[in-house]
């Protein structure tokens, strides 16, 4: 019984997508660098739509420049747009780094990004001098929109940043963490775990502060606005000297692999530490790379998660069926956690087409002893139709499933990206033991509200 039941999408068209194109992932990654500006080489929609999407999820500014390709560029190429755009960003925003992010149009036009950057630098040096120009790192990031998904764009960006900037010098005894596309709360939780283990980390890249920053206007009237925090360029340079790299997602580990190949920095890929066993694995990886032992504090946090699972799962969650949808890493991690809670991951669905996803789900099927309906490269319409004949007790995924949930009268537990119809979800972790505690509370409260409230006396204790 315990196996993966692959359900194919019986059409070519996508109806209600569960993925977006590469540039978003790259813009996300560049935003995680201190004083960095993503510069999108494409039409204005390519930046505007992404800014809109990021801002409504994180409820934070998302400052992204665009080269504003118009018709003339489509015909004659975007050379002038990129060269001028780079200079304008460099001079007016004085960034530490500019990530030049391509799009479908600039890739199809075939712009020579590297050549254009060279020219732009030369012209810039004439205007502001060699020294200042050299201080601004310019990293080309190829993100053809028509290849794979936003996760690939993130992966390409992290790899490009590492390949262009990392430089070996003295060993630093730090651990590189590639978090994947997660929320500020998740990265903070990872840093918290590192702190408890007394390990210094370099997060590549760290969006935790840029996408969740305090409202404390500057009294000294500084322009332009840059959020606090983020990974510094120096840290990226230093990443070549780290003791090891852990990529919390195997779908975006190219940068880590590159560090290993070039500078012998050992690498561990995945899984994302969602749930007990995946977090255990993360700790083992940390221990393996650093030799630091797991501390009592961490085991206590683990104990708190186990404590709530002991209390809640058999009583409220056992045997409840769940459909999980979203990015492959998070979906697979959630499926495993849901199994640990004694729930049934009846359907898992990811918009990406990554092959590694199926064996991951196979492992969960084996652990839970259930047959898991699995859709790879699927879309939300597929899930909507599936649910009509195969109802579940609970949906777990992004806000984009909210109307399906409403129509099917199935409660939705929100995780992943984007969440725009509720607030605060970007702040709370779903990774680590604390993330597990947050999730079990979220899931159980949703179950209580929807399956117990009508028999309110059951909620007295």
């Amino acid at each position: 019984m315990s196996c993966v039941n692959l359900i194919e999408k019986e059409r070519n068209a996508i109806i209600n997508p569960l993925k977006t194109c590469q540039p978003l992932g790259a813009m996300y990654a560049v935003t995680g660098i201190r004083r960095a500006v993503p510069l999108v080489h494409g039409s204005q929609g390519c930046s505007t739509f992404v800014r809109y999407s990021l801002s409504r999820h994180f409820r934070e500014p998302s400052e992204i420049a665009v080269t504003s390709l118009h018709e003339d560029a489509a015909v004659f190429g975007g050379r002038r747009n990129l060269i001028e755009g780079l200079q304008n960003v460099a001079i007016r925003l004085n960034p530490s780094l500019i990530g030049v992010i391509t799009t479908c149009s600039s890739e199809i036009i075939g712009d020579d990004i590297i050549g254009f950057i060279k020219t732009a630098k030369k012209e810039l040096a004439e205007k502001i001098g060699e020294e200042k120009t050299e201080k601004i790192k310019i990293v080309p990031i190829n993100t053809p929109s028509f290849v794979e998904t936003h996760l690939k764009g993130y992966d390409n960006a992290v790899k490009a940043l590492i390949d262009h900037i990392a430089e070996p010098s003295e060993p630093n005894e730090k651990i590189n963490i590639i978090p994947g596309m997660v929320n500020p709360g998740d990265i903070r939780e990872i840093k918290h775990i590192l702190g408890l283990m007394d390990i210094e980390g370099i997060v590549l890249t760290d969006i935790s502060d840029p996408f969740d920053s305090p409202l404390r206007p500057s009294a000294t009237e500084l322009k332009p606005y840059y959020p606090k925090g983020g990974t510094t360029v120096e840290e990226i340079v230093d990443s070549a000297n780290s003791t090891g790299t852990i990529s919390l997602t195997k779908y975006a580990g190219s940068g880590a692999v590159s560090l290993e190949k070039k500078y012998n920095v050992p690498v561990e890929l995945g899984p994302i530490p969602i749930g007990v066993q995946n977090t255990d694995q993360f700790l083992r990886n940390l221990k393996k790379l650093t030799g630091q032992d797991v501390t009592d504090d961490i085991l206590d946090e683990r104990g708190l998660l186990i404590d709530s699972m002991a209390d809640l799962s058999s009583r409220y969650l056992h045997d409840r069926t769940v459909a999980i949808y979203g990015d492959p890493e998070i979906t697979a991690g959630m499926a495993r956690f849901v199994g640990e809670l004694g729930m049934v991951p009846q359907l898992v669905l990811t918009g990406a087409s990554n092959k590694e996803f199926v064996p991951d789900i196979g492992k969960v099927a084996k652990e839970t002893g259930v047959e898991i309906d699995t859709m790879v490269g699927g879309d939300l319409r597929q899930m909507e139709v599936y649910l009509k004949d195969n109802p579940v007790d609970l949906l777990i995924g992004s806000s984009d499933g909210r109307l399906i949930a409403k129509e099917a009268e199935i409660p939705l537990v929100r995780i992943g990206f984007p969440v725009y119809d509720r607030v605060g979800y970007h702040r709370h972790p779903i990774v680590g033991y604390n993330g597990g505690i947050h999730l079990i509370d979220l899931i159980t409260n949703t179950v209580l509200e929807n399956y117990y409230e009508h028999q309110h006396w059951k909620l007295q204790q």
Binding site: I14, I15, Q22, F49, L69, E84, L215, T220, P224
Partner: protein, 486 residues
């Protein structure tokens, strides 16, 4: 000097002609340069033509399937992003089977590398067939070109024609790839042109009355239309077609049968009103329903056209009695507060006078992402001496503006909202609203209430400022800029 160059824009001096400071005795043609190419890398807030066509014009139509011919991103970003609620009612009395179909579903061809190399027309054809199979009840299928399909040269019109014949229902291509024009405005125009060319005049209404109007450029943002429709119904005016809020495909086909076109959003849809007038002789008037004064005035104008003035007065009196007293309260609270309006287009001239006359607010400046000359003329006319009138202000200019001017509230979009907050100023979403609708009498009260709660949010009085300088965030912009000037 009527033009101003922000300090932050010294390195891009061409920005100066886009930033006008109102002087009452300036010649009439003194307006900011607009509707021109965006300066690359200037941190513009503008969008693209695809957004203008699908996002603004057609996305409100309730009974058509929207197929975006693109890599997945454009499809994803076209999904349910605008507040365009729709009902299931159709003009012939039947029901469309899905409520808010336009918000719930988007279809995409998900173009891959091989499609880019070999062309995506086959995939588009297949997507249309699959769409029709999945949603057989839709009354038309609209196809959207994007940057990719524009560049690889897919012939969207040919596919549309072929599919229309095969399916026996309208299939229409909108050729507004993202790079067309300099702003989303180009997409509005293409949307208008396409709908006029392909649909208007192709259908006949189930019934007509002597009081039929086209309500053009009203998209039912957050329910605006439903509020205004009540007024018209009470006056005795029949909305024969709406372009395009809560409308259906067929409804657009009989726009030529109306007695009058009432144009609400003048930037995005005067085009079609003009074309209908030219071809079918239906006159049009430009209107404005923001605020009680404008709303009353424009209801009177439309009513007068049909000789229904008395009815209009009744409707106006009834609504004023309802909202007047509460508006008085907000006027007291808002008088003297300063507001900066950063809208896409017309709201920047719709709002400045009513906010002052009816709520006592001062407009520090107005700006727009995609207005043309005619819009900027109105913007300029409707602000006071010294107010700013800006085309395509960028993020840095917005920051300087907040620093240099005394502003209590910024009306803008979600992209600006959180930046403005970080600088210590409240902001209110004006594109898709917060607790709308904002149009009409009751809507203006909603707007007043939202502005009041934004400005008077106690949080703005308890900010802690960042006193220490972060060495990383040194203000070197000026320094660099000076060097450039040298």
């Amino acid at each position: 000097m009527p033009y101003k160059l922000f300090d932050v824009s010294k390195p891009i001096p061409e920005r100066k002609e886009h930033t006008y400071v109102k002087h009452c005795n300036d010649p009439e043609d003194c307006i900011p340069k607009c509707n021109s190419k965006t300066i690359p890398g200037s941190m513009t807030e503008r969008g693209c033509a695809f957004a203008g066509a699908k996002g603004v014009i057609t996305g409100a139509i309730k009974d058509v399937a929207h197929v975006v011919h693109s890599p997945i991103g454009c499809t994803m970003y076209g999904y349910g992003s605008k507040r365009y609620p729709t009902t299931t009612e159709l003009p012939d009395g039947s029901e469309f089977p899905v409520k808010d179909f336009n918000i719930k579903y988007i279809i995409g061809t998900d173009l891959q590398e091989s499609d880019v190399v070999f062309g995506g027309m086959k995939k588009l054809r297949q997507a249309v067939l699959e769409t029709n199979k999945e949603f057989p009840f839709v009354n038309a299928i609209y196809l959207y070109a994007t940057c990719t399909t524009g560049l690889i040269g897919d012939d969207m019109d040919a596919v549309a024609k072929e599919m229309e014949e095969e399916l026996g229902k309208p299939v229409i291509a909108f050729n507004a790839p993202g790079f067309a024009g300099s702003t989303q405005s180009k997409g509005h125009q293409i949307g208008n042109d396409t709908l006029f060319a392909k649909i208007v005049g192709t259908t006949e209404p189930p019934a007509t009355t002597p009081y039929d109007i086209n309500f053009i450029g009203e998209y039912n943002i957050d329910g605006d239309l439903w509020l205004l429709k009540e007024y018209f119904n009470e006056i005795g005016i029949n909305i024969l077609s709406t372009f395009t809020g809560d409308c259906c495909h067929n409804e657009l086909g009989w726009m030529h049968r109306a007695k009058l076109s009432v144009v609400r959003c003048q930037r995005s849809s005067t085009y079609i009103a003009k074309m209908i007038e030219e071809k079918y002789g239906v006159p049009y008037i430009k209107t404005d329903f923001f605020s009680t004064e404008y709303c009353a005035e424009n209801l009177r104008t439309v009513a007068k056209f049909f000789g229904l003035e008395d009815k209009a007065e009744e409707v106006i009196a009834k609504r004023m009695a309802k909202v007047g007293p509460e508006l008085d309260f907000y006027r007291k609270k808002l008088t003297g507060k300063k507001v900066f309006i950063f809208s896409g287009g017309p709201k920047s001239y719709h709002l400045s006078i009513p906010l002052h006359n009816e709520l006592g607010l001062e407009t520090t400046g107005v700006s727009s992402m995609f207005e043309h000359e005619d819009g900027f003329e109105k913007m300029k006319d409707r602000v006071k001496e010294g107010a700013l009138v800006i085309d395509d202000p960028n993020t840095l200019e917005l920051e300087e503006l907040i620093e240099d001017y005394d502003i209590d509230l910024i009306l803008g979009g979600v992209k600006e909202k959180y930046l403005v907050h970080k600088l210590g100023i409240p902001s209110l979403l004006i594109h898709s609203y917060e607790n709308g609708p904002y149009m009409g009498f009751e809507g203006f009260l909603n707007l007043a209430r939202d502005m009041y709660s934004a400005i008077y949010n106690p949080v703005w009085n308890i900010l802690e400022f960042q006193e220490t300088e972060d060495p990383d965030v040194a203000d070197v912009t000026g320094e660099v800029a000076e060097e450039v000037e040298k």
